[in-house]
Subunit: 203 residues, 2 copies
């Protein structure tokens, strides 16, 4: 009967607003970066009033974190070619593609270009990476099963070794990133794995 349903449909017209603000946040993030992003700017781009944004999100940080979390559900194709070399190369290349694409740009901009010390953003970032690594683990597991890698190879560790050179370029040296970067990272990781230094129980 539900004499008085507390919140049968609490989302009124807010759904569309939410979507618009999300999109606007990502867009502003790409164009201006986190530091130069203004809530008013996001609101105007979304065709919404500033107050409305503040009614839905606590502050600038929450707004960006939320927009990021939404975007974190990006589909990462998990290669399965039967060869570790090819699989790792593909994995690295899709990472590069993500980074250089417009969507990835927003993510990276927020996560590293200004929001690095904001607790919420740091946490969201970690969550995104955990998720991504977990989904890529099968690639390593399969390689071990095929006998192409040492039995004690630790999947997360291998995946981190794979991603590290790419991020190093992006964040530290600022060198351009392309397929060659990905292929090189795959080579390094493969050599390390075969040498048995990506085993469990290592830091």
């Amino acid at each position: 009967m539900n004499s008085v349903p507390p919140r049968p449909a609490p989302v009124g017209r807010g759904k569309k607003v939410s979507v618009a603000v999300h999109a606007a946040t990502l867009a502003e993030l790409v164009e201006r970066g986190y530091a130069a992003l203004t809530v008013d700017g996001v609101a105007q781009r979304a065709g919404v009033h500033k107050t409305t944004v503040y009614r839905r999100w606590k502050d600038k940080e929450s707004l960006v974190v939320d927009a990021l979390s939404d975007q974190s559900a990006m589909d990462v194709p998990i290669p399965d070619t039967g060869s570790v070399e090819t699989d790792l190369r593909e994995l690295a290349r899709s990472l590069v593609r993500m980074m250089t694409g417009p969507t990835g740009g927003a993510l990276l901009a927020a996560m590293f270009s200004g929001g690095a010390d904001v607790p919420g953003i740091a946490q969201a970032r970690r969550q995104i990476f955990d998720d991504r690594f977990r989904r890529a683990e099968p690639v390593v597991v399969r390689a071990v099963e095929r006998g192409q890698l040492p039995a004690d190879t630790d999947p997360p560790q291998l995946l981190k070794a794979l991603a590290a050179p790419v991020y190093f370029r992006l964040l530290v040296t600022g060198e351009p990133i392309d397929e060659g970067t990905a292929d090189h990272a795959a080579e390094i990781t493969l050599a390390a794995a075969r040498a048995g230094v990506l085993g469990e129980g290592r830091s």
Copy 2:
């Protein structure tokens, strides 16, 4: 005769002020990070008025970049133990030590936690790394001469491979950094170098 020397001694009592502001900037950087750093806060800590800071530095960015450049002349001990394993491990460990120390903390805070997209800071960062890599190159050169590494091993590339895992932890995954991290990075790099994937002409 110099009837009217343009600027015989332009630095009046400003020298001490400059030093104090520099120190204060670094200190505030460590405590609050780049984003939360206020010029007024720096000025007060330096025992100087805000206006004075603005008279010497164009804005917040210039102030931080300048303080950073000063600090960039940190001495990196270059190991020479006769063994690549030990040398690389030492190199990585001193990087970790630098990162976890108070001085390194200021650098990292400014370079990545908020100032990543500020052009001046990005440039200063690149310069610092170039310098650091150049000074460490002899380690690789010596190892090649000793026949411990393939002849075509590219020093900068090896050093980047060495640093990448450490920075990845610091900036991306946020995992704690210690000696184990350094040792692991050295192992990975060594395996890659021996496999010949750190040669010249690779991206």
